[in-house]
Amino acid sequence: MSTAKRVLVAEDNVVLGDVIRFNLLRAGFATTLARTGSEALEILTEQMFDILVTDYELPGIDGEELCHRVRNELKIESLRIVMCSARGHELDRDELKTRLGIEAILFKPFSIRELIILLEDSTKTANDCGPQLISN
């Protein structure tokens, strides 16, 4: 890996955010943590990222709204998005994926290792095929 991939994690659960960052840093990702949706938006307007890992439930601007703004206001199409949620199957996964260009949705409690593998695969695909908006 020539340069570390940049990951922004938007997670309001402090302990979970910390452990995600701990693991991502160890896996070689340049990781930034945001506690709210609006903080994440602010960071995204200032810096470039490869991947956004966002919780669905965030105070104020929630994960869905955040993705919507990323795609429609900030117009960042190259950003890959992974969403995690403590919601169960009431979430329409396919609809969210298609509408907001989300690469994967993980249900809590998810495996950290699974997340890391997903991010590694995702950045590899990005290298191979270039930015891709919608992927199943």
Binding site: N13, V15, L16, V19, I20, F22, N23, R26, E57, P59, G60, A86, R87, G88, E90, F107, K108, P109, F110, S111, I112, R113
Partner: protein, 479 residues
């Protein structure tokens, strides 16, 4: 009383009388003619031949009229009765009782009149009963809490009750009869519901819709049903519309869904943390010992949080089933209060709140259920912390008088609007204030505190001002 004479038939009586007059007339006429012819006065016989039969004829007809007078009278009355349009027995007249026939007629008439009088009374009575019943049905129709309207085949209202007008929020004074029901309903429905109403069509099966005034269900949700009522001999169908206010059920349903969502979220969050940390510890190598230690602590804390939430769920399900029981023992109040306070202190300090207590030095002995009381107080304090912004103030004051102990939880939080205040202790209630929605909560904590207070013979009272703060007072009698 009929004599033998009256038992003979009319024809016979008439012919006998005529025969008697005829024979006697013939006899006298013959005697007279013989007498005259003897003295040669036969010529003078001609006027007599005309006059005498004429006299007898007149006499006969008089007798005949006398005999048949009552019969004719009765016949006339019956003919008139038959020809009259209303067949009223009131027009039949009794006859002077000179004759057994007239007496019979009079008796018959008396019976008929008596009968018809009874009929009249019966009819008036049943009319009175009917009109009272109709009035009662009308009152029932008007007082039904469901709105009901009957429309003709064009969809125009023929009849409706008060509730229908009220549910459609039409002024009482406005006459809705004759108006188009679809138009009226469309005026009270949001876009989605309007579409459903338009899609009703002419299907003869009963249709049931749920219509909503606006996207916010608390503005009103109604169950609308339409039943076609086919008239006799296939005449165009009337339709019967009923409207029922189901706002409260809808809100309760939503609150329950919200609760399930909150509960699963509350279970998954600590579980996600436990999984992430234990996985990290298991997989990552070379983690500094101090960091490892802090990870173990986090797992421990999250497990405790999970266990506490499960306890809460159990309390709630007991409360839901109405099965909370309390066991009163003497409570060591100081210890109980310090446990409750220490449990909540970390949460308050995370929000940088001033967390104080003011406990009166000499509190009386209290007989109570220690665990339930602690859970109720914890609920009140954790609510206060939750709904007080960062840097705010939460205080527990405990005081007593001769009959009761007061636990007062004061905060400088977001407060409660006057609208929400009365609903606050209801199960699953959560304010629509976005500052409340931003926090995780089941909407059951306060209901639980209320139930615990009630079981101890006490109460929870609330004072609050929006954006200023609140004070929840849990009051428990000493004995």
């Amino acid at each position: 009383m009929f004599t033998a004479h009256h038992n003979r038939s009319l024809t016979r009586r008439l012919s006998e009388q005529y025969l008697l007059f005829g024979l006697s007339g013939l006899f006298f006429f013959t005697v007279f003619a013989v007498f005259l012819s003897r003295y040669g006065f036969l010529l003078q016989l001609i006027p007599a031949a005309v006059g005498i039969p004429l006299g007898f004829l007149l006499l006969g007809s008089f007798v005949l009229r006398r005999t048949s007078y009552w019969h004719e009278n009765i016949e006339r009355q019956l003919t008139r009765f038959a020809k009259s349009s209303d067949h009223s027995v009131a027009e039949l007249r009794p006859l002077p009782t000179t004759d057994a026939l007239a007496a019979g007629w009079n008796q018959l008439l008396a019976r008929i009149l008596e009968h018809s009088a009874w009929n009249g009374v019966e009819r008036r009575l049943s009319e009175a009963v009917d009109s009272q019943q109709a009035k009662r049905w009308e009152a029932v129709f008007q007082d039904l809490t469901d709105g009901i309207a009957v429309c003709n085949s064009d969809g125009r209202i023929i009849q409706l009750n008060r509730s229908f007008a009220t549910l459609l929020q039409q002024p009482v004074s406005k006459n809705l009869v004759g108006l188009d029901i679809i138009e009226l309903l469309l005026g009270q429905a949001d876009e989605n519901s309007q579409e459903q109403i338009r899609g009703l069509g002419n299907n003869h099966a009963t249709q049931v819709l749920e219509i909503q005034k606006s996207a916010d269900p608390s503005q009103g949700v109604y169950r609308l049903s339409r039943t076609m009522h086919t008239g006799d001999s296939g005449s165009p169908a009337d339709s019967i519309w009923t409207l029922r206010d189901v706002t409260q059920q809808k809100l309760a349903e939503k609150a329950r869904e919200q609760f399930v969502f909150t509960a699963t979220h509350e279970l998954r969050t600590p579980l996600a943390n436990i999984r992430a940390y234990s996985e990290t510890l298991a997989l990552a190598s070379e983690i500094p010992v101090e960091e490892q230690q802090s990870f173990y602590n986090i797992i421990n804390n999250e497990a405790t949080r999970l266990a506490r939430f499960i306890d809460e769920l159990l309390n709630i399900s007991q409360m839901e089933a109405g099965a909370i029981t309390i066991q009163k023992h003497e409570v060591q109040l100081e210890r109980l209060l310090s446990e409750v306070l220490e449990g909540q202190r970390p949460v308050a300090s995370e929000k940088k709140q001033a967390f104080d207590s003011a406990i009166a030095p000499k509190l009386p002995k209290l007989m109570a259920d220690k665990d339930k009381l602690a859970a109720a107080l914890t609920n009140l304090i954790s609510n206060a912390i939750k709904y007080t912004p960062v840097g705010g103030k939460v205080t527990l004051k405990v005081d007593s008088d001769s009959t009761r102990i007061l636990f007062m939880v004061e905060d400088s939080g977001i407060g409660i609007s006057a609208d929400d205040l009365p609903k606050l202790c209801g199960k699953f209630f959560r304010s629509s204030d976005e500052r409340v929605q931003a926090e995780v909560g089941t909407g059951l904590g306060l209901a639980f505190a209320h139930e615990v207070a009630r079981l101890h013979g006490g109460s929870v009272s609330i004072r609050s001002q929006l954006n200023q703060g609140s004070c929840f007072t849990l009051e428990i009698p000493i004995r």
